[in-house]
């Protein structure tokens, strides 16, 4: 099977299901996951993001390839996962109860 992500980011392959298009889908996966699952993804993805700045700065969005697109989506997932891991200690925003805010317009990539 072909790689989902660029070769430098092969460590992310087991977390390919986080390469989701759209903030809504990524947020839905976050709140449906356990803290252990979020932490496991974060522990692998965060160092790759931290080291990946230079690579990401070279990826232009016009005509972006599939592997880079998946990488971008997975890191977008990392952005939303960072809140439970770094701040909340739980998948949902504390005290946010039943309330929701939905993305209704988003950039294409």
């Amino acid at each position: 099977m072909a790689n989902v992500f660029p070769a430098d980011f092969a460590a992310l392959e087991p977390y390919a299901d986080w390469a989701l298009q759209g903030e809504r889908a990524r947020y839905a996966k976050r709140v449906a996951s356990s803290m252990e699952e979020l932490q496991a993804f974060y522990d692998v993805a965060f160092p790759l993001l931290d080291k990946g700045t230079e690579y990401l700065e070279k990826v232009t969005l016009d005509g972006i390839g599939d592997e880079d697109k998946h990488l971008l989506w997975a890191f977008c997932s990392l952005v939303t996962v960072a809140f439970p891991v770094e701040a909340w200690g739980q998948p949902r925003v504390p005290d946010s109860g039943p309330s929701s805010i939905d993305a209704v317009v988003e950039p294409v990539v």
């Binding site: 990401l56 700065e57 952005v79 960072a82 809140f83 805010i101 939905d102």
Partner: protein, 425 residues
């Protein structure tokens, strides 16, 4: 401990001659008062319904549900390129003219004419009735008398506003006043990367404006957004604005910069450090053709070196936030009843040039959403307790001066409307 100077009267609230007494929130829990606000405010003032970029071509249109004003409008770019608005009502039997599967949901698209789903009456982009099914069956039908009902529409700096009052004579420019004029020239047209969020909120529309027109709550409600040490420091520091200003029904708060970029990187969470971004936006600002010092005069009005962002409240329900790192956020609060409303938050960025910048912007909007969830849910707790009428007056501090102004203004609109015999029927 004062961090920034206040007017000579000693407080902003006294400076603007708004009283300093505790306030009543009866205006936010009364269904009767809300019914008055619908006519006195939402059917009479200029309402922002979108931006020109949403109408890229001739024939581009979108609909906007204005529940509070008992209206749905079609906003469309005509064959002449002009932006117009019409009531979304077919002249034949009153069907809603433009909608997709769900009549209550907003829609958008591109077309050459609007055709009613009921009996196929057709209107051109300028609202003229151009086709009637089986026209000969009607009784001397004069098609020129049955065009779509127009709604006043005007554009300011790319923001499209409508006014549902057929007798309105105040131009949009005059309505937006000193702040509108002082913001003109900001290159909004360069900020075409759009993220938009929507939420149904269980509170009166003014209560959410209250939550976003003061930052007094930020170090407390949102303390979990900071690393622990920093949260404690921020709490101790409290919050003070650089300045407040009021112009007619509108108001603004100018705020210092906080954390974009932070003084020490240890202040921020790891993801913010890695992406050099956060709630205040990407730390490095993109080129918008103007330096911070060159921004139009209403933005950073005190020309403070530590300026971070301005929040303008354009009455009744449009807020515009201009951030130092050259991006913009708008808030809209669309009432659906005295204790519910739809909140919209829209972020506008300069289009990112690469994947890293795209992620920086993602972190900014996702941070906004996390904050918004905290705010929105708190409001439901506030609304239910206000409705319990356990208490009927509330002390507001000087950092809450815009709230006083908002509620006072809304009440004034209702009072003066109720006094007009011709319209109060």
């Amino acid at each position: 401990m004062a961090h920034f100077p206040k007017p000579s009267e000693g407080s902003w609230t006294e400076h603007f001659k708004i009283d300093t007494e505790p306030v009543s929130y009866a205006d936010s829990i009364s269904p009767e008062h809300y019914e008055l606000e619908r006519d006195a405010i939402f059917r009479r003032t200029w309402l922002n319904v979108g931006r020109v970029e949403q109408l890229p071509r001739k024939g581009s249109y979108f609909t906007k549900e204005l529940d509070a004003a008992r209206a749905s409008v079609i906003v469309v770019r005509g064959t002449d390129g002009e932006v117009r608005a019409f009531h979304n009502v077919c002249r034949h039997r009153g069907n809603k003219l433009v909608w997709d599967d769900f009549p209550r949901e907003e829609t958008k698209g591109n077309c050459r004419a609007f055709t009613c789903k009921y009996h196929a009456w057709r209107y051109d982009l300028e609202g003229k009735l151009t086709f009637v099914q089986q026209e000969s069956e009607f009784f001397d039908l004069d098609k020129s008398r049955y065009g779509l009902l127009p709604v006043h529409a005007e554009v300011w700096e790319g923001f499209i506003f409508v006014n549902l009052d057929p007798d309105n004579t105040t131009s949009l420019k005059d309505y937006l006043g000193r702040f509108g004029q002082g913001i003109e020239g900001y290159p909004f047209h360069k900020l075409t990367q759009v993220h938009k969020y929507r939420a149904e909120i269980g509170s009166n529309w003014k209560l959410f404006i209250d939550a976003f027109a003061e930052f007094y709550h930020a170090p407390i409600l949102h303390s979990g957004q900071y690393v622990a040490d920093e949260a404690a420091k921020i709490k101790k520091y409290g919050y003070e604005a650089l300045s407040y200003d009021i112009d007619g029904p509108h108001s603004m708060v100018s705020s210092w910069g906080g954390i974009a970029p932070p003084k020490a990187r240890a202040m921020v969470k790891p993801i913010e450090r890695a992406l050099r971004s956060g709630l205040f936006g990407p730390w490095e600002e993109p080129d918008i053709g103007l330096t911070t010092e060159q921004l139009p005069p209403a933005i950073n009005p005190t020309r403070s070196k530590v300026w971070g962002m301005d929040s303008f409240v354009f009455f009744p329900n449009f807020m515009l936030l201009v951030w130092r790192p050259n991006w913009v956020l708008t808030y809209h609060y669309w009432p659906t009843s005295h204790h519910t409303h739809i909140f919209e938050g829209t972020a506008y960025f300069v289009p990112p040039q690469n994947a890293f910048q795209r992620l920086q912007q993602e972190l900014a909007v996702v941070s906004f959403k996390e904050y918004g969830l905290q705010d929105g849910n708190t409001l439901e707790a506030t609304q239910t307790m206000l409705e319990s009428r356990t208490l009927d007056e509330f002390p507001l501090c000087d950092q809450e001066v815009l709230l006083r102004h908002l509620h006072t203004t809304a009440r004034k609109f209702v009072d003066s409307y109720a006094k007009q015999p011709s319209t109060a029927s």
